[in-house]
Amino acid sequence: MEAMAGELARLRAEREELDRRIRLLESQLEATPRSSASPAGEAIGGGGGGIGAAACPIRRRGNGFSAADGLPADMIYRYSRHLLLPDFGVEGQRKLSGSSILVVGAGGLGSPVALYLAACGVGCLGIVDGDDVELNNLHRQIIHKEAYVGLSKVKSAADACREINSSIKVVEHHHTLKPCNALEIVRNYDIVVDATDNLPTRYMISDCCVLLNKPLVSGAALGLEGQLTVYHHNGSPCYRCLFPNPPPVAACQRCSDSGVLGVVPGVIGCLQALEAIKVATDVGEPLSGRMLLFDALSARIRIVKIRGSSSVCTVCGENSAFTQDDFQEFDYENFTQSPMSDKSAPSLDLLPESDRITCKEYKRLVDNGEPHLLLDVRPAHHFQITSVSQSLNIPLSELEEKLQILETSLKETMNTSTLDKVPPLFVVCRRGNDSQLAVQLLREKGFLSAKDIIGGLQSWARDVDHDFPVY
C-alpha cells in the first residue's frame, strides 16, 4: 500500500512538473505574434480564480488566402465533412465557430457534450463543475481518464477537449454552479447545456437562463432511461412551466442510489450536443416544445409534444416579478427539499440513541462471540454485490411480509446459544437510513431487541473493515 502511495505521489509530482513546463511553453507561444494558426485553448478562472472569466471572446484570425467571407484554410480542412453537408455548410460552421456554449456538469452527460462540442469547433466552450474525478465515475464519464482520478473534473475535461481541438477556446470554471455565481458565469455564453444530476440545480439553471434569456438544452439519464428537451427557446416552456411544483423528495431517485448503465447518459449527452449545435447554427428544428424520451431496455425513443411557455409561470410568465436579485437569494435546496450535490444523501435520524449502536461497538460484540442476528435490509441485488458474513438478507420493501422468516431465524439463534431470551437483532443497510426505518417497523411489530447499526456498511468499511468493498 505504502509503496503504491509513494509511486502515486511521485507520478503526480512528475505530472505537475510537466504541466508547468507545458504552461510555460504555451504562454511563450501565446506571446509570439503569428499569422495563421489560431491560439491554443487556454484556462481562465482555473484553480479557483475569478469565476466570471470576464467574457468569452472568440479569437480567430483569417489567413490571407481565403475569400473575405470564407473560412481560413486550416478550418476548411479540419471541418470539411461539415462543410460538405448542404444544410450545414460554411454558414453553419461559421456560426458554430462564433458561438459560445456553457456545459454545466462534466459527468456522464457532460462528457460526450464537451467532447463533441470541442471536436466540432464551437468557438468557446465553458465547463462548470466543482467535483473531482472518482474511480466509480469512469464507467460512464468517458471524458475522464484513470490518471485524473482525484483531480478536478473541469481540468480533466478541459485538457481532453484541448487535446482534441487546440483551435477552440476552453474556459474552466472550477465551481459548483450556485445562485451566487450562476448569473456571472452564464452571462458570458450564448447557449447553456444542463448536464447536471439533481433537482435544485435544474430549477436554478432554468431560472438563470430565463433571466438572461439563454436557450437551455436540458438532458437527464437514470437507470436505463433518458429525457431531453430544449427549454426557453422559440416559445418553448421553461422548467418551471412544465414543473411548477417540485416532486416529493421520495420520488427523486439519484444515480448513486439507483445505478445507471454507462451508455445511457452517453446517448442523451450526444443528443444534447446535437441540439446545442442546431440551436447555435439555426439549422434544422430544435427539440423545443417537444421532449425526447429514451428507453434503453426496450430500445424505444418517443418524441412527445409538450405545452408551450406558460403565461402564468412565476419566472418566465408575462407578469413575472422574479428578478436577478430574487434569483441570487432563492433557496433552491429548500424549495425542492433536496441537496444540490448527488453525494450528500439525506440522512435520517429516527431512533433514540438506545436503539442504535456504532459499527465499532458491533465489531466488539462479534469479537466477543456474543450471540445475535444480523439483518441486512438492502435490496437483493445490493446484497449480491457484497455483504457481511452470516447476515440474513430481507429487503426493507419485503420486511413486513417476511417477519415469519425473521422470527424463525431468531429462534434458531437462540437455540444454538445459551441465551434464555430473544437474542439481539442488529439491522444494517448501505448508509444507515433504511435500517432505521426497518428498526422502527420491527419494534412496532414486537421485535423489541432490534437495533440499528449507525451509518450502515459505508461506516463499516470506513471504521472497521477497510478492505470491505464500497460501492
Partner: protein
C-alpha cells in the same frame, strides 16, 4: 374501451412486477359516455398501483413531477383531467428524471 397505458421514469416501480406497458379495458364511470382522464387516474390507482399511491397521485391529479401524455401529447394541451379518451388511445405517465452526473 381499450387503452394502452405506459409508465416510465421510475413510476413502473409502483406497479406489479414493475411492468411498463399495460393493455387495459376501462369502462366509463356510471352516467358518463366516455372515459375521462379523471376517471382513468382513479381506475389506475385501484387496478394497477400496488404500492405508495402517493407517489402517483396527489389530490385528484398526478403528483408534481409526473408528465401525462395522451397519444404523445402533453395532457395540458388536451384538457388535462377533463380530456376525453378514445378507443385505442395511448396514455403515458412518466416521472421526470433528475439524473446522473
Amino acid at each position: 374501451m381499450h387503452l394502452t397505458l405506459e409508465f416510465g421514469g421510475g413510476l413502473e416501480l409502483l406497479l406489479e412486477k414493475s411492468i411498463k406497458m399495460h393493455k387495459v379495458d376501462v369502462q366509463p364511470i356510471d352516467g358518463q359516455e366516455k372515459v375521462m382522464m379523471k376517471g382513468l387516474l382513479s381506475w389506475v390507482k385501484s387496478n394497477l398501483i400496488k404500492e405508495r399511491p402517493e407517489m402517483f397521485l396527489k389530490g385528484d391529479s398526478v403528483r408534481p413531477g409526473v408528465l401525462v401524455l395522451i397519444n404523445d401529447c402533453d395532457w395540458e394541451l388536451c384538457g388535462g383531467l377533463d380530456a376525453e379518451l378514445e378507443e385505442k388511445d395511448v396514455v403515458v405517465f412518466i416521472s421526470t428524471l433528475h439524473g446522473v452526473l
